[in-house]
């Protein structure tokens, strides 16, 4: 009996699924891990203990698992959620039991945001919540981590299919937003939805950055083009997953798109930008690599759990007392830490997006003019 030979399509699918992100190195993912956990711990860790100051009259859970609950749990529950999240983020930062720590971070955020959104509004943070678990499966804990020092990472390169799963989810999320907009009439040429939302935000006082300038222009053709462009870009998310090159170019455009939303509507959709980096082959400068090697070597191989427990508890106490410490320090010197950090992330993200697209354009032109 002979084995059935895989078809060309089958082989292509296998390559797409298993080899798609083979140019993303362990170092590259390690940088994303440190950035993600570091930025969250210092500046943007979500807080949930505020929920305790509200009664169950505010409990309007969306359809889903929270609907079966009679109301908000007691305040100690939210303290526990924040402590567990702080400890898990510290574990992710230093790469201790990274897979489990990332899963715990995802679950605690999923639960905390579930209660937050039970106040009647869902903010769409799901990608930044799911990212740690899938990026851990892709190997973001293999470099500059206690797991590496303790020999808990296997030999050879890690499987990168979790990046493909994350890519499919992200592409789908954008597509879902685009499809809903089509259903809501964003392509109706008689209605400029971007204009409507822009004006709505202006009335509510969101008049920073380019919001007023844009209103002064009040160019309906421009607004209509923005409606169409938004729908096309978001729907393209599902097309872009066909190849990693398309997806990277798509993400580069999306990073610029996020900045434009901030500039016009004052919506800081910042939380996805660091996980987006995981799809790119981030080359780590040798000097930074050596510095990270040296820093990681300082951590004890034995007693990593104790280190995480102590550092995590300190982080949790600080978090419960003043919130993310970096943001609290900026606030203390009169700078709105949240605005500064979110805007900085969006500006850097858009800058990297422009750089990537220029680089891609350059290499495309180079390929076209070079002799066969």
């Amino acid at each position: 009996m002979t084995a059935t030979a895989p078809t060309t399509t089958g082989l292509r699918f296998e390559r797409w699924l298993y080899d798609n992100y083979d140019d993303v190195t362990d170092e590259s993912l390690g940088v994303v891990r440190i950035l993600y956990a570091g930025v969250f711990l210092l500046f943007m860790q979500p807080e949930f203990t505020w929920i305790d100051s509200f009664t169950d009259s505010f409990f309007f859970p969306p359809i889903g698992p929270f609907l079966v609950l009679p109301g908000f749990p007691p305040g100690t529950f939210f303290v526990l959620v924040e402590v567990v999240l702080s400890v898990s983020l510290v574990a992710v930062l230093v790469g201790w039991r990274t897979g489990w720590a990332s899963l715990v971070a995802t679950l605690t955020m999923l639960i905390g945001f579930g209660f937050t959104y039970s106040f009647g509004k869902i903010d769409h943070t799901i990608f930044m919540v799911l990212a740690p678990t899938l990026l851990a499966a892709a190997g973001w804990g293999r470099r500059w981590s206690l797991d590496e020092r303790a020999g808990r990472v296997g030999p050879g390169p890690a499987a990168r299919w979790p990046l493909v799963v994350l890519m499919v989810l992200l592409g789908w999320m954008f597509f879902s937003a685009g499809v809903q907009k089509v259903a809501e009439g964003w392509l109706d040429p008689t209605v400029q939805s971007t204009r409507g939302h822009h004006f709505n935000h202006l009335v509510k006082g969101d008049d920073a950055l380019l919001a007023v300038r844009m209103a002064e222009l009040d160019n309906r053709v421009l607004y209509e083009l923005m409606d169409i462009g938004t729908v096309v870009l978001e729907c393209a998310g599902l097309v872009a997953i066909v190849s990693r090159r398309w997806f990277r170019n798509f993400l580069a455009v999306v990073a610029i798109f996020h900045l434009s939303i901030l500039a016009i509507l004052n919506i800081p959709f910042w939380g996805n930008l660091i996980p987006y980096l995981a799809f790119f082959p981030v080359s780590v400068a040798p000097r930074l690599s050596r510095w990270l090697d040296t820093a990681a070597a300082r951590f004890p191989v034995a007693g990593g759990g104790v280190l995480v427990a102590v550092a995590g508890t300190v982080a949790a106490i600080v978090m419960l007392a003043v919130g993310p410490p970096g943001t609290a320090m900026l606030d203390a010197i009169g700078i709105d830490g949240e605005i500064l950090v979110t805007r900085s992330i969006l500006v850097i993200g858009a800058g990297l997006g422009v750089w990537w697209l220029v680089r891609e354009l350059g290499s495309s032109l180079g390929r076209r003019v070079s002799p066969a």
């Binding site: 084995a3 505020w50 509200f54 009664t55 169950d56 009259s57 505010f58 309007f60 969306p62 359809i63 889903g64 929270f66 999923l110 945001f113 579930g114 937050t116 959104y117 106040f119 009647g120 509004k121 869902i122 903010d123 769409h124 799901i126 990608f127 919540v129 390169p157 890690a158 499987a159 299919w161 493909v164 799963v165 989810l169 789908w172 999320m173 954008f174 879902s176 937003a177 809903q180 907009k181 259903a183 809501e184 964003w186 209605v191 939805s193 204009r195 409507g196 939302h197 822009h198 004006f199 709505n200 202006l202 009335v203 509510k204 008049d207 007023v212 209103a215 002064e216 009040d218 978001e234």
Partner: protein, 187 residues
């Protein structure tokens, strides 16, 4: 003749991933359909639609306004952001749950879709304005904001505010509906 060796499994290439993707191909469209027809679930693998344009020609948006009346007959205005300062998500959306704006968004769709939406509106979007616990919470919150005063009632009014978008100048204000919550007094 030796038996052919069993194919070795590559741990980096688990077949189960294909099943996972196949499952997602079924589940993701279904839950999007559910979100569009019924209501957005949580958790859900989707990004925001922002909804259809809330305004067409003019820059009009609803604004919630609160006025508290004290036992001595005086009143004070309280901003929504002040009242719900601790809530980090869209406060207007939260207030819409607690004090529904009359003329709620028209339910669209036909046949089964409109029936489902009506059912969801009736059964799952109950509002909390008449909840005694809510009145107690409001009483505590108003007293925090105005220590030493004795609040007896709080009136919440939805006002449609229209501005001139290029200048931000106020064009008009139109009261929609209002609610008065009895806070008891006699602290």
């Amino acid at each position: 003749m030796a038996a052919p060796a069993a194919p070795t499994r590559n741990p980096h290439r688990p077949e189960a991933v294909k099943w996972l993707l196949g499952g997602l191909a079924v589940v993701l469209p279904l839950h999007l359909l559910f979100a569009v027809v019924v209501s957005e679930p949580y958790p859900a693998i989707m990004f925001p639609s922002f909804g259809k344009s809330p305004t067409t020609d003019s820059a009009v948006a609803p604004e919630p306004r609160f006025q508290v009346t004290f036992a001595d007959g005086t009143t004070a205005d309280i901003g929504a952001d002040e009242l719900l300062a601790d809530i980090p998500i869209g406060r207007q959306a939260v207030l819409q749950k607690l004090f529904p704006r009359r003329e709620p968004r028209e339910l669209t769709g036909g046949g089964v879709v409109i029936s489902i939406r009506r059912w969801v509106n009736r059964h799952l979007t109950d509002n909390g304005v008449f909840d005694p616990d809510f009145a107690g919470w409001l009483d505590d919150r108003v007293t925090d904001l105005h220590p030493g005063r004795d609040p007896v009632s709080l009136t919440m009014t939805w006002v449609d505010v229209e501005i001139e978008p290029s200048t931000g100048d106020l064009v008009s204000e139109t009261d929609r509906n209002s609610y008065t919550v009895d806070l008891g007094g006699d602290r």
